[in-house]
Amino acid sequence: MRYLRQIGIIFLICYISKIISTVIPAKFPSNVISMILLFLLLITKAIKPESIRDFSEFLLKNMAFFFIPSGVAIMDEIPFLLNKIHLILFILFITFVCSFWVTAIIVETMMKRIKGCEEVDHE
């Protein structure tokens, strides 16, 4: 019963988000809308965290599992990618490291600045 209710709530939020994504003029993915919607429902206390806890934790813990079919689908694209695959992988890797590094440095530098200012304030 408890689990069924939790699954029902989260599926309902996803379904409403699907409808929202087709209604709004901008093209915005329903998955991200459902994330924003659930977040708003939680901070406005419309939904108690306990009422979705078990199912959410199950989904979060096994997140990688749900990407398996999308990954296996690559097999139908392999013939197209094959002659450039080394260059594409090179680009994917370099640009991944580049965006990782830029993001991490910006956040870390700003956090250290803010922490530095706080320490001065306390003195």
Binding site: P29, N31, V32, P69, L92, T95, T103, A104
Partner: protein, 229 residues
């Protein structure tokens, strides 16, 4: 002959079996390079090729697993909510990081594609590779790319994130957990986030937010460039 592989349960069962085996191997070997998702994908692709099973048969079950991607993404809101106090405090660095990282990703992909002389259709298919699949498909189509190729590249990028993120955190001496989480979410979306969740609750929650924000910013930047370009 009956086609037993076209049963939806077949796709689900081999996915679970390979995945559990992958998790078991990682617990035994304890290396970040033993990635259950990557092992499962390779294992299933080889099985399908070996037994001459078409992807569409496997995907009878695959579609049912795909159905849970929406709820899985939604559930990130729950982990974000649990970390709300930390996130409120560090909202500005996280947002700045997402904007910088998204621009770095778009810029570096565009630059390298030009260097290697890729045509516009392929370049457009690669540009959205760092963002979450549903947003990436939209951007790819909007730019005149090939969405099916984009999906593959998004998945490959996510796997790179899951494999190399723990190594990059050490390599670049990233000491703040929030910085590490943001970087993972921006550079490798949901699959990276699944790794970030394993690294810690803070990393997971921040990575989830960063994935949403970078998807949002990337689609805004691309629309702006198209509008003015």
């Amino acid at each position: 002959m009956n086609n037993f592989a076209a049963e939806p349960l077949f796709g689900i069962i081999i996915s679970i079996a390979f995945y559990l085996f992958g998790v078991f191997l990682r617990e035994k070997i304890k290396s970040d390079f033993i990635n259950p998702l990557l092992l499962t994908i390779i294992g299933i692709v080889l099985t399908l090729i070996l037994f001459k099973i078409p992807f569409d048969d496997y995907n009878q079950g695959g579609q049912i697993i795909n159905l849970f991607l929406g709820p899985a993404t939604a559930s990130i809101a729950y982990s974000v909510f649990k970390q709300i106090r930390i996130l409120k405090k560090w909202a500005i660095p996280i947002i700045a990081g997402c904007i910088g990282g998204s621009l770095a990703s778009i810029g570096s992909v565009y630059f390298l594609c030009r260097v290697f002389g890729f045509n516009d259709a392929l370049t457009s298919s690669i540009i959205p590779k760092s963002v979450t699949t549903p947003i990436a498909i939209e951007i790819s189509a909007q730019l005149g790319g090939m969405p099916s190729i984009t999906v593959s590249l998004v998945i490959l990028t996510g796997i790179l994130g899951a494999l190399f993120s723990p190594f990059l955190i050490r390599f670049f001496h990233i000491s703040e957990r929030i910085a590490a989480g943001t970087a993972i979410g921006v550079s490798s979306h949901g699959i990276g986030t699944s790794k970030a969740i394993e690294l810690g609750e803070i990393e997971g929650a921040v990575s989830g937010i960063a994935m949403g924000l970078s998807g949002l910013f990337t689609s805004i930047f691309i629309s702006l460039v198209q509008f003015f370009g």
